[in-house]
């Protein structure tokens, strides 16, 4: 593997309980030779004990004791594999209805989503839900895998029907790039290797598709945003006047001599240097972790944002967001929560629920305004101080936030700024 050039692709998988999601992941890992002998032996032993014929690929993704006992996935699990072209991180999310929050979690960091459809059943309610979440979380690339093609005699007509059904569905959502692949995870058709059972399919197998997805243009390179994490002030000889603003570039490109503005204060200055470790760099872009020094001594602390002066985010206290409620305890009307947005932490109040999305029909519901676990609603919030925001569809970092319940300290909601 070329450590100098190869990129990282994060993807998530979504499917209903019996769509064969675990088998697909097991197949990807197994056929790409990412599974070690002792893991294979352990799975062979378990498969035999459970009376399975041959090796049960789904067992490679089993995790916690309860999951193995009940044969279900409870929580997001992360899997890793590498090919000579890329490193992959899979956010393996459960397909159960009650675990919408897990899919939102897995999707929040993903560049791509695999949506699994059972060839026998076609597009079902869960497919809609998963696709909607993928579009809500602005995953740039969707790969629809029509699975279990072996059970419909590898029929081209059936595949085309499903593609058609899905196109109808996705036309109602904001998705940029959709690809369709007929597969059989169980038999290995079109997962890693080309299927000989579907010569009518002209596209690439799944793995090749994942290896060649064009992801470097997904990042926002226009709006330069640098949320400050901490200020470095070394207590060392030779560094008494040094002040480094440390953080990770959220978007855009910064260079020494750029005119910058610090928000929310509005002070302006110029970048004198950017470095990572002891190495000075000429250009910093997302998602680099760097430290910057400025020409003027200004009061800057965690939660502030350094931006280029000619391109600034909105500073708002009243914000409209799409929210996914993640907690058992429903939202209390006008209750206050802690809010985390980039490195900024404040209090916020949910002022009004505008509507709820019925994720089965994708209709807006204006009557039911209770925020229960797994609900997705559009709401208005007000924060104690202005947040420096961009719309989520333009910027995943400065457009996202979470709410925390101060009584339990739990993360109760994920928000995307409209």
């Amino acid at each position: 593997m070329d450590t100098e050039k190869n990129q990282l692709l994060r993807f998530t998988t979504a499917g209903s309980v019996d769509d064969g999601k675990s088998t697909l992941i097991g197949r990807l890992l197994y056929d790409s030779k990412s599974i070690f002998e002792d893991q294979i032996q352990a799975v062979e032993k378990t498969s035999e004990r459970k009376g399975h014929e041959g090796i049960d690929l789904a067992l490679f993704t089993d995790g916690l004791r309860d999951e193995r006992e009940q044969g279900i996935t409870i929580d997001v699990a992360y899997r890793y594999f590498t090919t000579p072209k890329r490193k992959f991180i899979i956010a393996d999310t459960p397909g159960h209805i009650q675990y919408t929050r897990n899919m939102v979690t897995g999707a929040s960091t993903a560049n791509a989503a695999i949506i699994l459809i059972d060839a026998r059943n076609g597009v079902i309610e869960q497919t809609k839900r998963h696709s909607f979440i993928a579009s809500l979380l602005q995953i740039s690339h969707i790969i629809v895998c029509v699975n279990k093609m072996d059970l419909v005699e590898y029929d081209e007509k059936r595949f085309n029907e499903i593609v058609h059904e899905y196109e109808e569905l996705s036309s109602k959502m904001l998705v940029k790039d959709v690809q369709y692949i007929p597969i059989s995870a169980l038999k290995g058709d079109n997962v890693v290797n080309r299927s000989e059972n579907m010569n009518w399919y002209m596209g690439a197998p799944l793995l090749h598709t994942l290896e060649t997805l064009h992801i470097s243009s997904d990042l926002n390179k226009v709006d330069a945003r640098f949320p400050v994490q901490t200020v470095l002030r070394p207590q060392k000889e030779g560094y008494h006047d040094y002040r480094g603003y440390a953080g990770r570039i959220a978007s855009g490109i910064f260079r020494p001599n750029d005119e910058i503005t610090v928000l929310p204060s509005g002070f302006t200055s110029k970048i004198t240097s950017i470095h990572c470790d002891s190495k000075e760099i000429k250009e910093a872009y997302a998602p680099m972790s760097v430290a910057m020094t400025l020409e003027h001594e200004i009061d800057i602390s965690r939660g502030d944002m350094i931006v280029k002066s000619q391109n600034q985010p909105d500073c708002e206290q009243d914000i409209e967001i799409m929210i996914c409620w993640l907690n058992n305890k429903p939202a209390m009307p006008r209750a206050k929560y802690s809010i985390m947005h980039t490195t900024n932490e404040q209090k916020a109040m949910i002022k009004e629920v505008l509507y709820k999305i019925n994720i089965n029909t994708l209709d807006r519901e204006y009557d039911d305004k209770e925020l229960n676990m797994n609900d997705i609603c559009k709401v208005k919030i007000r924060t104690t101080k202005p947040l420096m925001i961009d719309p989520y569809r333009k910027n995943r970092i400065t457009g996202s936030l979470i709410l925390i319940d101060d009584q339990t300290n739990e993360t109760v909601a994920a928000g995307m700024i409209v």
């Binding site: 450590t3 070690f36 998602p287």
Partner: protein
């Protein structure tokens, strides 16, 4: 292709540095759990980068079972000196002497599980609110479900079925008095990533990772080093072998593999074709199918 993208190692490095800076900003008294193994060494080096030109703002915490490789302790002391950080040591022997834990008996006895008590006691008595670890999600199935910021209750326990959802890069670090967090900056790294990074950054690691001659016995399908702590039975024969270690734990339970890889490049070449997981030679993981999950729930690393 656009030139504005990071390769995967740079992206992993940047993610880890981001996580370490979040820890510094959000906790009062964080420490790095330092075992002397390659993963905790990499985390320590990442911390050095994250805060340059300032010193690492964390103490190192070593839970010392007393069953160490002498090389590990030497390495630890040199590193602490060169980085100018302070070192906290939690002694398992002390937990045994004060009756907090009882030593296992017999030939397969280990002090592995005893570390949990020593670790939690040290965390409590030093009022540590965050322990940074080098655990990776690819190591073990229970670890695959771990968060970057992982909450521990006031008994130090992990509740895997009730974890806080972790979205984007927004880490919820809120906790009540007595609770603490475990934070894993290299969650998304694999064994190969760690090796490639060590090579690229020319990070110094203990010589134990490279092939060397050693007196060993054959037990549980691996070469266990002979030491004063090893209890042998009559059937076990001491032989001299050229071995290296893939992970470093207690000297009594860490098995080596036969190898000629005496340089980093050779180790990486060997690891990349290796057909056994790295923890395959750790007796502590072999005890049952859920050995790691069970220990983690109680407060293990």
């Amino acid at each position: 292709m656009s030139k504005y993208y990071l390769n995967y190692l740079d992206e992993l490095e940047s993610e880890a540095i981001y996580v370490l800076r979040e820890v510094y900003a959000k906790f009062q008294n964080p420490v790095i759990l330092f075992s002397g193994g390659k993963d905790s060494i990499v985390v320590t080096q990442l911390a050095k980068k994250a805060f340059h030109p300032a010193n690492i703002p964390f103490k190192l915490l070593h839970v010392d079972t007393g069953h160490n490789f002498p090389e590990t302790i030497n390495f630890r002391d040199n590193l602490v000196k060169s980085l100018d950080v302070s070192l906290l040591v939690g002694l398992v022997q002390e937990s045994i002497d004060t009756g907090r834990v009882a030593e296992e008996k017999g030939k397969n006895a280990t002090r592995n599980a005893l570390q949990i008590t020593t670790l939690l006691d040290t965390i409590e008595s030093n009022q540590i609110d965050c322990a940074i670890g080098g655990a990776r999600r690819d190591e073990e199935k229970a670890r695959a479900k771990e968060r970057f910021f992982s909450h521990r209750d006031d008994f130090g326990q992990w509740d895997p079925k009730n974890q806080r959802p972790e979205l984007w890069n927004l880490f919820n670090s809120k906790h009540f008095q007595g609770e603490h967090f475990r934070v894993f900056p290299i969650s998304n790294w694999t064994e190969m990533d760690v090796w490639n990074y060590i090579l690229r950054e020319k990070i110094e690691i203990p010589s134990l990772y490279l092939a060397h001659e050693r007196e060993v016995i054959w037990r549980n399908n691996s070469w266990i080093p002979v030491s004063e702590h090893l209890i042998m039975d009559e059937s076990e024969k001491v032989v001299k072998k050229k071995i290296r270690f893939r992970t470093l734990g207690d000297i009594t339970i860490t098995g080596g593999i036969e190898s000629d890889a005496d340089t980093l490049e050779k180790v990486i070449a060997e690891v990349s074709v290796m057909r056994q997981t790295e923890r395959g030679n750790r007796a502590d993981d072999k005890r049952s199918e859920t050995a790691m999950e069970d220990r983690k729930k109680q407060g293990y690393f």
